[in-house]
Amino acid sequence: MVNEKYNLKNEIETVREDCLKPTRRWGRSTRIWIGCLLIVISWGLYCYIHQLRAGLGVTAMRNYVSWGLYISTFVFFIGISHSGTLVSAILRITKQEWRRPITRSAELLTWVSLLFGGIMPIIDLGRPDRIANLVIFGRIQSPLMWDIISICTYFVGSSVFLFLPMIPDMALCRDRLSVCDTRFKKFRKWLYTKMAIGWKGTKSQWHRLEKSMTIMTIIIIPVAVSVHTVVSYIFAMTLRPGWNSTVFGPYFVAGALYSGSAGVILGMAAFRKLYHLEKYITPRHFDLMGRLVLALTLIYAYLNLNEYWIPAYKMATAEGHLLRDLFSGSYSTVFWTLQFGTVLLPIIILSIPKGRRPLMLAITCIIIVAGAWVKRYIIVVPTLLHPFMPIQEVPNDWSSYFPNYVEFSITAACLAGIFLVITLFSKLFPMMAVWEVEEGILIEHDKQAAIELRLKREAEEAKTNGEHSGTGTEPIVQPT
């Protein structure tokens, strides 16, 4: 028994060390990575300043395609932000034990993509200097206003949801700081102390934390669903062909969940590789997440089918023009590649167990995430190029659209920003929820101990029974 206890303590200690090690090192590759990200961000910032001074005319958007890459990317980022809700909240509620190593990275991905997703519409505004008008003169009948309210609510919610499980880990970091050598010790001391908000691990504190987390888990799910639903409303509340659809809300939520969970897998794979967390994020995790993504892709494929097959059957005038362009016109290559390459192909790959191995799954998820981004573009732009009134006798640059270097630069800068925040976070804070993993180990141990105890007792009973009766039924003993 003493040996077991020692083993358990060792195990927990290893977990802690493994989780905290990455926060101490600041290697060369990290510095190069951050340097590259900063270069991309500063170039994007320069382009944005150029856009502020010269107006949105420096992009390729014109009067027909008045929403382009920025809004598509906004929808995409908000979609990715459903990752944390799904993995963290839904798996918590359904008491899936295997979620433990991946909740932190999922919640982080949610928080960061919401942050940058919320910035995209501001970048897209013609007069960002008048943003206060939204508060002073806001109209609650506008889908954009619902967007703002729900994204802010979700952002606060996901910040809380990220922060709550970090509290015990912050206490751990704070307590361990003196015994290891890291950079920025003073700053870290201050940061960890502040963020640990006086955590001592007392019973009442744990009780409050668990209660808060349960409440947040429950409330964050409808908030997340509402966010992507209202994002879909900025399109669905218009009369345009392709957007005038009743299924847009569920369609967008399903798309968000499917691309978000793929994003989680990419995060999982990256941190597993970079921070040597192979012991905790096992191929079993990839297999289970792969099944989850499969289920979500199937739901998404179903809604996708509805979204296109129903208007295609009817070919009403305005929708007909749009669908012809998508199915056999200028967007046909992209459209069919998306449907077969990023929806059907992942379904096939994920259905076979080999497709859910870490490397294969990661590649499939890259396809899914990239496909989701292009799909958002396909939702936004072709509809704008097929208005009810014919496009006649207008300047060249109005009747077609492809994003130019300004839009790509600024979007790349936002993406780099996401990577940068995630990298900095992972250098400051442990990327696995240490206490949750420990809890898991304890539960596992307790379970094992309970099973062994039960088997022992059954064996003893069998012995005594056998002595007394002689014959009796052989108890079924399960080998450990």
């Binding site: 619902w146 809380v160 955590w199 947040m216």
Partner: protein
């Protein structure tokens, strides 16, 4: 030597002069070739406020033979006074080819009490000379009605102004009865033309169904259009014969497109998101409690 130089100089001078003459002649010819034909339509109006105006509309044909308005063309207005043309005013036409002149003083009349107005285009760079004239008598168009009359009867009296200023009733003049609308004058009904009798009077019963303002008042107009003797003459009067406009009780009701939202929407959004934020505040409260309990533990441990 000297003679040679004189001959040279003279021939040179002659050549230069000839060249200049030739060039100017060519220019003249070019100018006269490039002038196009313009037509003037001249109309005369006597309004309800007794003001007299003449409007000249200048049109020209474009390359495709379609009539277009001639903008910015100088039109000179003359009146005939003792068989001579007196220049009154010159104005430029606007974008619709219209040049307008308002007569301040009484127009000079000839023996038969007619006045003549002439509109001319003279010495214009783009257009050939053109002119148009009109020749009318002065007339009074009286309008008589009872604003509260339920029969809605209006009588117009046409009297021409005689030699000694006396009014002579005009028989057989066509009077059209109209109603003033926001941007123009509308015929009151399909058969709104009445010819004056021996007394120079024309009566008309206004239809019932004409919308008026909020008090039910309409402006009744009687006009003579393109009369041979008198031109365009008009007079107006107000009458309470219109259907009163019902004022909108609330021009800005609550609606999705108005500044104020429908109440169900406000309630739904407030309850849904308000509820979520209440939960958030509860969580913040829990966090505060965690912090406080942490401090108590420190205090306890130090004791």
């Amino acid at each position: 030597m000297k003679i040679n130089s004189i001959i040279r100089k003279t021939s040179f001078t002659i050549a230069i002069t000839g060249l200049f003459c030739g060039i100017s002649a060519a220019q003249d010819q070019l100018q006269s070739q490039s002038k196009s034909e313009a037509t003037i339509e001249l109309s005369y109006y006597k309004k309800a406020d007794m003001s007299k105006t003449a409007v000249a509309v200048v049109k020209t044909k474009d390359k495709e033979g379609k009539f277009v308005f001639a903008k910015n063309t100088r039109v000179n207005f003359y009146v005939m006074h003792d068989k001579e043309q007196q220049l009154l005013k010159n104005t430029n036409t606007d974008y619709k080819g219209q040049a307008l002149i308002v007569f301040q003083k009484d127009l000079p009349l000839d023996d038969s009490l007619y006045f003549t107005i002439v509109a001319k285009i003279e010495n214009d760079n783009l257009y050939e000379d053109a002119q148009e004239q009109v020749h009318y008598k002065d007339v009074n168009l009286g309008i008589n009605l009872n604003p509260q009359d339920t029969a809605r009867l209006v009588t117009a009296k046409v009297t021409e102004i005689g030699k000694d200023g006396k009014g002579i009733p005009v028989k057989g003049a066509e009077v059209k009865f109209c109603v003033q609308r926001l941007f123009g004058i509308m015929p009151a009904s399909d058969d709104n033309t009445v010819t004056t009798d021996e007394k120079g009077e024309a009566s008309f019963a206004f239809p019932k169904n004409i919308p008026g303002d909020t008090a039910g008042v309409i402006t009744v107009a009687a006009r003579m259009e393109d009369n041979e003797q008198f031109g365009n003459v008009e007079n107006k009067a107000n009458a309470s014969w219109g259907i009163a406009l019902v004022k909108e009780k609330n021009p800005f009701p609550r609606a999705l497109w108005e500044p104020y939202a429908p109440v169900p929407l406000i309630l739904t959004v407030s309850i849904l998101f308000g509820g979520v934020w209440c939960v958030y505040f509860f969580i913040f409260f829990q966090l505060r409690k965690i912090k406080k309990e942490g401090q108590i533990t420190i205090n306890n441990s130090t004791l």
